[in-house]
Subunit: 341 residues, 2 copies
């Protein structure tokens, strides 16, 4: 059915003839085509909620960059909204919540979302699946529970997420109650995404790095583990816990298919800690793509040789930054696809 299933093979630990590649934020502002589609919507939220537009930008990077997978265009904060906590996306500032979670009444007021509450994403997935016509796999995703809680409590992005961490330290039982609701919502949502055509899914734990190791296991990985357990029988699951450098072994023990790595992690060390039965994904520094082609080639070659051809999916260690030159991204993708490891 799929003409190119390299990424699924790599995630399942099957032999591949070359390293597959996709890029976090491949659908985004680096593409003029994305900016043109984005201009058709009144604001970011309307854009995310429009299945036709979301489908359009989901497929663009497959056509333009030649990546080996599409990832559904959406936002991790659709889950808080579906649970009863709406957000806005403020230009040049990021997400902002008018109401935040402070006490038991706030947590009690949150409902467990189901896939039907996120029908616009489900529809976008169906359209994208159709539009891709089997060219490459379609990746679904959601935020990991800790990262979702951190926004729901903090109310916006933050350097320290000190309000969200204060919540864990002062109201741990309430935090667990909220994480449980987020986890159940996320499982429902990911199941819906897979039914609608997602071939694999990724959990983004963007703010894993602000927690201590002990807190991360208690408030972060515990819930990721529940999601992996529920979803793994249906599709491969990738866990990307940014800056949780200490957690690779424990993440591999969740039995996920793939572990996403940021660029501060040494590939050989990651393999030693994560073991042989998991696929690694990453971990080019997005800023490398500001460099000239010679530097990009040199550094990418070192990385590809360090990871090896099998049990590996090439990606960045973070999303593409908006001001990265599209031509450099194409050069990088082609270099990886043509490189003989």
């Amino acid at each position: 059915m799929l003409k190119n299933d390299l990424i699924l093979k790599a995630a399942r630990g099957e032999q591949v003839e070359r390293v597959p590649i996709w890029l976090m934020r491949q659908a985004g502002r680096i593409l003029p085509e994305y900016r043109a589609t984005r201009a058709k919507a009144k604001n970011f939220i309307e854009f995310v909620k429009n299945p036709e537009l979301a489908c359009e930008v989901t497929i663009q990077p497959v056509d333009i960059l030649g990546v080996d997978a599409a990832i559904i265009f959406s936002d991790i904060l659709v889950i808080p909204e579906a649970m009863g906590l709406p957000y806005q996306m403020i230009e040049a500032k990021g997400p902002w919540f008018e109401n935040t979670i402070k006490n038991k009444a706030d947590v009690d007021a949150m409902r467990i979302a189901n896939a039907g509450d996120l029908d616009y994403v489900i529809q976008a997935l169906r359209l994208a699946k159709q539009g891709l016509n089997g060219r490459v796999p379609l990746i679904g995703f959601c935020g990991a529970p800790w990262t979702i809680l951190s926004y729901m409590v903090e109310g916006s992005g933050s350097k320290t997420f000190s309000k969200a961490k204060q919540f864990l330290y002062t109201q741990p039982e309430l935090a667990h109650a909220l994480l449980d609701k987020i986890t159940k919502s996320s499982i429902n949502y990911l199941k819906g995404q897979i039914e609608a055509g997602a071939d694999m899914v990724q959990l983004f734990d963007s703010w894993a790095g602000v927690l201590s190791e002990k807190q991360y296991y208690e408030f972060g990985l515990k819930y990721i583990s529940q999601i992996v357990e529920a979803i793994k029988p249906l599709a491969p699951v990738t866990v990307f816990a940014k800056d949780a450098h200490y957690a690779l072994k424990k993440i591999s023990e969740t039995n996920c298919s793939t572990i996403g790595l940021d660029w501060t992690i040494d590939p050989a060390k990651a393999r030693t800690e994560a073991g042989k039965n998991v696929t690694l994904q990453g971990n080019t520094d997005p800023c490398l793509l500001y460099a000239d082609e010679k530097t990009i080639s040199k550094e990418t070659e070192i990385m590809l040789k360090a990871f090896g051809k099998q049990r590996y999916i090439c990606n960045l260690g973070h999303g593409l930054y908006p001001d990265i030159d599209k031509e450099k991204v194409k050069f990088f993708v082609n270099f990886v696809k043509e490189f003989k490891v």
Copy 2:
């Protein structure tokens, strides 16, 4: 001469009868006394440049919190200013540079600062030394060269410091030229601080964590190493490279006296990697101080036992946050001072 030199003993690897403690940002907004002194200056820059006021807030935490050292109140960005790149501190936003470093002409225009350019800090140190009257040691500090460069190129704080990193990737020789000037300025500055009475010094590499391991060694640690080499014969040097979890062994090889650790680092692992001939400092999560006394005691006891009594200085893994309750901080300091490891 010093009535309490526990921190110096710990830094030099001498036996101590109890664990010494000081706190990053101990002079700061958590203290009403600080806010009262701060209100006497027109703005943050004027405050930093006023030796009497800087001296006052330097000594406050020794009186109020009972910490085992004072750290001179200043800002790491006094170095760019002394080199020819002034900054402003924007309320609730942080530092902002009207001009930034973009090209060779900009780097060429930067002068190598000497201690005389920073006479207001030197004066503040002399006053603080006098005011402390030998009660506890006085710590001097500066930003590490990479962190200083990152502000000079980026022009403000940033989640990614992608402009500063772009500078390293696209103009590495120019970056080295600038880092060299910053390093020489920092050595001059630290020597001046020690002459004026600083008993030990700390290098703050706040943005170490945004670089890859390879880049950190090339653009970060190389220059830290030069500073340690120049300063170590004069006073113990602490290196705090936040989020550079992979670098502990290499940092210990700079021959610094003490390595600062953030709260994502396991104490036992840090000791294994850094070896026995260096003192470790840290690493309580500042957010722990939002918790109740029982939780603070429990977590602090675990940390103190993990680090052990010798070759250790208790501190946070980051600065105190402004909304932390002063009474909790006092409780934490007393708990550490009274704990029998």
